[in-house]
């Protein structure tokens, strides 16, 4: 059938490429060319600002005379004796502690509960993740509305015979309101992580447990929880970092108030830095925040390195 054999031996020569193409090709082979833009911008927007922050935090930057005077730990001494900073720090700690503890427990429980491949479970799981992908402005605005004096939340309280409360407008309940929104907002992401952690536990382990006649509760506490522990740890760390750096909802709902009752670290930095132009103090507070988050992140990296369970 094939009368002519087109692949009879004949030397094939590579097509010549034009100069521009060859130059691009050469550049493309050089890793430094490829990574340099990202490295440059990483230096500009991450490494340099961090170093600058540390530098300025030890200085008194006088904006009117534009002088930078070394003052040692003066800025740190100032903020640690400054009432509004201490208030922000304690608010942050309360905020972090409650959102992380309640949040992680809820995330694990709801995650375990929703880890079933059924339509309803998947639907609910998809829905509770929604707050993660929409603007925090939309969330803050709708919660401000729900929590307003004549809002639905007070209506529900009244319905159960409880008096209306001021929610985010009352210094006593403002931080709690922010915490409620933060937990509501963060649940979906945590559940997603817990479910992916649960899915990574191979079925045969459960089958082996079944053959060992392990009861359901025993299986949960002796097998699921230990194997899920790297995931839980990851959640703990990331939620803590998120809690320490949270800003949007505070700025949007309460603007730190009323009476500093919701001022958190990130908000304090923003206010001191951009509103009051106290750069030295703001950056000292930034360094405090940086130290806290770095310790947490390094802890996370160390653990992930040790137990590579969480993908």
């Amino acid at each position: 059938m094939l009368t002519h054999n087109p692949i009879a031996f004949q030397k094939l020569e590579l097509r010549q490429r034009n100069k521009g193409y060859r130059l691009l090709n050469r550049l493309q082979k050089n890793p430094y060319v490829l990574v340099s833009p990202s490295v440059f911008f990483a230096l500009c927007f991450s490494v340099y600002p961090m170093l600058f922050c540390i530098y300025v935090s030890f200085h008194n930057w006088d904006l009117t005379r534009n002088t930078m005077e070394f003052v040692g730990l003066e800025n740190y001494r100032f903020i640690f004796t400054n009432e509004s900073f201490l208030k922000a720090l304690s608010n942050t700690l309360i905020f972090a502690l409650t959102t992380v503890l309640i949040g992680v427990i809820l995330k694990v429980l709801v995650g375990v509960f929703l880890n079933r491949n059924k339509f309803c479970h998947n639907l609910v799981q998809t829905i509770i993740f929604t707050p993660h992908i929409i603007s925090s402005v939309a969330i803050a605005v709708v919660f401000m509305y729900l929590m307003s004096t004549n809002g639905v939340f007070n209506y529900v309280l009244n319905f159960f015979g409880i008096d209306s409360i001021g929610w985010y407008q009352d210094p006593k309940t403002a931080l709690m309101s922010i915490i409620v929104v933060a937990i509501w907002q963060g649940l979906g992401y945590g559940v997603l992580i817990v479910i992916s952690g649960l899915k990574s536990i191979p079925d045969y382990i459960y089958e082996a447990a079944q053959l060992d006649k392990s009861s359901k509760t025993k299986t949960f506490f002796k097998i699921t929880v230990p194997l899920l522990s790297p995931t839980i740890f990851f959640l703990l760390v990331t939620s803590t970092v998120t809690a320490f750096t949270s800003f949007d909802v505070v700025k949007l709902m309460t603007n730190g108030g009323p009476m500093n009752s919701t001022s958190v670290l990130a908000f304090y930095i923003y206010q001191e830095g951009i509103s009051f132009l106290h750069y030295g103090r703001a950056m000292a507070a930034s360094v405090v925040l940086l130290v806290i988050t770095s310790v947490l992140s390094l802890l996370n990296f160390a653990m992930v390195g040790k137990k590579v369970h969480y993908q």
Binding site: M50, W184, S294
Partner: protein, 277 residues
């Protein structure tokens, strides 16, 4: 035995419904209130379904918040961020995944630094830098800032690393240049990941409130989140125009919600595997 099973199922159903209501209600309330009159919106007894659907609220919110202008700003900045960020991250991720070079480790640490250093610590120096350059209230300030994203590089690098090396070697033996290996072999293979990443960058930049707040002092390049937030400050006498705020919020989140409806698996997986929040 069977009875207990029924109870378990009832409890399960109640829990599911509770979660459903807790998460759907705020969205329902946002939508339905966006169609109320001002009076209905602030009524002490909640109006579950307004008497007449006030579609005009959307027009008012649109004009009130100057959606056209801020929406354009949002679109310019988010699309620009997607293009610029991918243009710098893809080659970078490719090099870190596929090449060996002496400074690989330290450079990789630098590139991932924003996963460790929170923006709440870096925004002030950046603000100062921009104000010295006179770049506050410009598109370039935000666009250049958004070029770099450590997690994008990290995520893409993982995708590149999963490409089978044999296939690349086969292409080289086929006489393909490095450029054509990259564009004609690797990119098509990781296309789904790049699309996911583009979605994620778009989502993050569209929703961005913090940077836009920190790096703008007037409304030249403000984006939708700030504009929608401004609606809540609009008062009719002493009354907040909640129905307009709700209409604005609905319009702000609609694009993301539509994206999420069509690509929810992709988006969720991207969040799981990139380990970012």
């Amino acid at each position: 035995m069977k009875k207990r099973h029924l109870i378990v199922r009832i409890v399960e159903c109640i829990l599911l419904c509770t979660l459903f209501i807790i998460y759907v209600f705020p969205f329902y309330w946002m939508l339905i209130s966006s169609l109320k009159t001002t009076f209905e919106a602030i009524s002490v007894t909640p109006v579950w379904w307004p008497n007449k659907l006030m579609w005009h609220n959307y027009v008012d919110a649109w004009n009130q918040a100057n959606f056209l202008k801020y929406g354009m700003n949002s679109i310019i900045i988010s699309f620009g961020a997607v293009i610029l960020c991918l243009a710098s991250s893809v080659p970078c991720a490719y090099a870190f995944a596929r090449m060996e070079f002496r400074l690989k480790k330290p450079l990789f640490a630098i590139v991932l630094s924003d996963m460790l250093i929170p923006i709440q610590c870096t925004f002030l120096p950046i603000f100062i830098m921009y104000s010295k350059l006179g770049w506050l209230n410009t598109y370039r300030a935000l666009l250049i800032l958004f070029i770099y994203s450590g997690f994008t590089i990290f995520f893409l690098r993982n995708a590149f690393m999963q490409v089978n090396n044999e296939v690349l070697e086969a292409a080289r033996l086929d006489g393909a240049s490095e450029l054509s290996v990259m564009f004609r072999v690797i990119f098509p293979m990781v296309k789904p990941v790049i699309i996911t990443m583009a979605l994620l960058i778009f989502l993050m930049r569209w929703n961005d409130y913090f940077w836009n707040l920190a790096l703008t002092t007037n409304d030249a390049v403000r984006t939708l989140p700030q504009a929608v937030n401004a609606i809540t400050k609009v008062k009719d006498g002493f009354v907040t125009r909640w129905e307009l705020a709700m209409a604005g919020s609905t319009m702000l989140m609609a694009p993301m919600l539509i994206l999420y409806i069509f690509a929810n698996k992709k988006i969720k997986n991207a969040f799981v595997y990139s380990g970012i929040k």
